[in-house]
Amino acid sequence: MAKFEYAPAPESRAVVTIRPSYGLFIGGEFVESVDGSMFKTISPSSEEVLAEVTEAGEADVEAAVRAARTAFDGSWGRLPGAERGKYLFRIARILQERAREFAVLESLDNGKPIRESRDVDIPLAAAHFFYHAGWADKLEHAGLSGGSGRPPKPLGVVGQVIPWNFPLLMLSWKIAPALAAGNTVVLKPAETTPLTALLFAEVCQQADLPGGVVNILTGAGQTGRHLVEHPGVDKIAFTGSTLVGKAIAGSIAGTRKRATLELGGKAANIVFDDAAIDEAVEGIVNGIFFNQGHVCCAGSRLLVQENVADDVIMRLKRRLQTLRVGDPLDKNTDVGAINSAAQLARIRDLAQIGEAEGATRWSAPCVLPERGFWFAPTVFTDVSQSHRIAQDEIFGPVLSVLTFRTPQEAVAKANNTPYGLSAGIWTEKGSRILWMADQLRAGVVWANTFNRFDPTSPFGGYKESGYGREGGRHGLEAYVTTEATR
């Protein structure tokens, strides 16, 4: 038994009311489905059923797109930017006021530790609304007109499909810029994490947002397909797997629809021998064990300079022994539950493949709860570039460690992946940071930090990590047009 045992410090569930069942949010109201069915959403840390939600059918998608179109053609489309901004500011403030409620609900439905939902997800979600609220009346001055000289105009109805890893945060990345630019949206949250999007629907009501501006359809892949393929949708914004992203790109090819796709990644976190080693170790941990590794830009490949590899790995393993894995609602939990049984199965499969390929597996000693979906933080050493665990996105708390000898080799290995979402560089030498950032084909390059997000900073990928940017001025471009006629 440890000398200093931290007593349980659970955040109270009482702050949030979960209804037994939820309809669809269409035209500003919760409505019953026309042709859908019901499914259960569970807490991945306990497998407890939290609520029944609706799987929207084709007729529901039709109704939602029609509501969004009516709102766009009606009052919302004619609203001055300053007025749109007021709604966004109002939503941002309500998110802050109800932050604890959202944090608890997010941790319950997703499995992520309350420390992260409280300190990262919810504050950043509010920050995205605040940031984009400020743009709403300044779009003409954002440099979005290109050479056309025409003011930027909204696209119309935007269909948005988001993943389960940061449910409310991804919602805010999608909805805030769309609304700031004057569009209306139909958003589908992931089937395993619908609850904070439904609570967000209540926030839209509380903010008196005109009906139809935001519509939320819960459901699984089929619902998403109906939405993407609906002819009344002007633009698709998708965050999720590369496989689904490719399918979406295929299905909208030849239509007038625009798309932004934010897909998978297999980021290299590159540690040089002159790095601030203790902080680099923190960055490695934050890079891959933050949010159970369910992060598209996770630093899932550690590239460490060979002459310090043993020291870095020793420090990393020692550090991982202090990670606290368990109840997501406990304020001292560092690593929560894997989001679903299916994801856990995929992580286990890839970990087994890693062992079979000859990599050395090490997992932090920790007692995992009996119920729910859990995977101990795991490090693979002796990994080669040709191993699948160095190539495939695992999307779990699994780190593959590779070594390099020179900066050139680090760049070559970092870029040798079909993905290109993010990368990290750890060195105390400023000139090397600049040289590396120039060479790396990744949308985000972090220097001496990792997994830092800010609404002012554009985020997006190279190659199979997708196209288009979210956040910053660049992110607004995806939601406006300067074409003379549409």
Partner: protein, 313 residues
Amino acid sequence: MGALTNASLTRWLHGLPGVDRVGADARAAGLGTRSIKTTAKAWAIDTAISMIDLTTLEGADTERKVHSLCAKAKAPDPGDPTTPQVAAVCIYADMVPAAVDALKGSNIHVAAVTSAFPSGRATMAVKLTDTRDALRAGAHEIDMVIDRGAFLSGRYLQVFDEIAAIKEVCAKEATRGDPAHLKVIFETGELVTYDNVRRASWLAMLAGANFIKTSTGKVSPAATLPVTLIMLEAVRDWRVLTGTQIGVKPAGGIRTTKDAMKYLVMVNEVAGEDWIDPAWFRFGASSLLNDLLLQRQKLATGHYSGADYVTID
């Protein structure tokens, strides 16, 4: 191996990995969000009390003031005999006889600040005499300050030699068998950068420090969580390298139970639980004790009392 030169010492200290300030601050802040409640809090409060070097370092100190402090050290909460005693009292060298007298028969150590505390601006002869006086009067522990001027101008060997010389006095003047424990104060508020804190830590450990200590309490900022983090990393790495354990003492500015909890969490998760022991971790503090006592009473009775339910000094 040849004689130690300033050049070789400089090369070695400057070869230590750098500290990224943003990252170190973030790590310290992250550890500060741990939630220590109920049984863990009760245990941590008692542990923190037992780690206090109860301190008075004022120009206005008198023997009576020191006697009064020693009485508090022995029975921090007269209403509750289960309250642990503090680890030591920390005073100026000339007050050592008063403290030794007052603490006779207890296990509480007498720690004396020496070597021209707090500035360290005196000749070596003065610093050695200062230390020798404290030891001959019965001090168990010596809290010396380094010469920050020498450190900042790169005269590392001079700093090394001063620590080693004082360490030698501690060994020579050992009156009760064990040589006095040497705590080396960096005054991190004057060293400013985390790289300097790391270098000073290794320099002091190389020179024979038993403890490394952040501050005198006379310069702001005094102890901070990130500075203590750097020092805990240093003693952790030193043990991996040499097998020898060195203690850490943040001092100054730690006033609340909440602060103390953050430090204990940091000790636990950075250096490891071996350091959760008054032999290896101390708080240099005065007002902290009363806040710990108030929180202790709150846990025992379920309600807060007030400032007049704990004794002053």
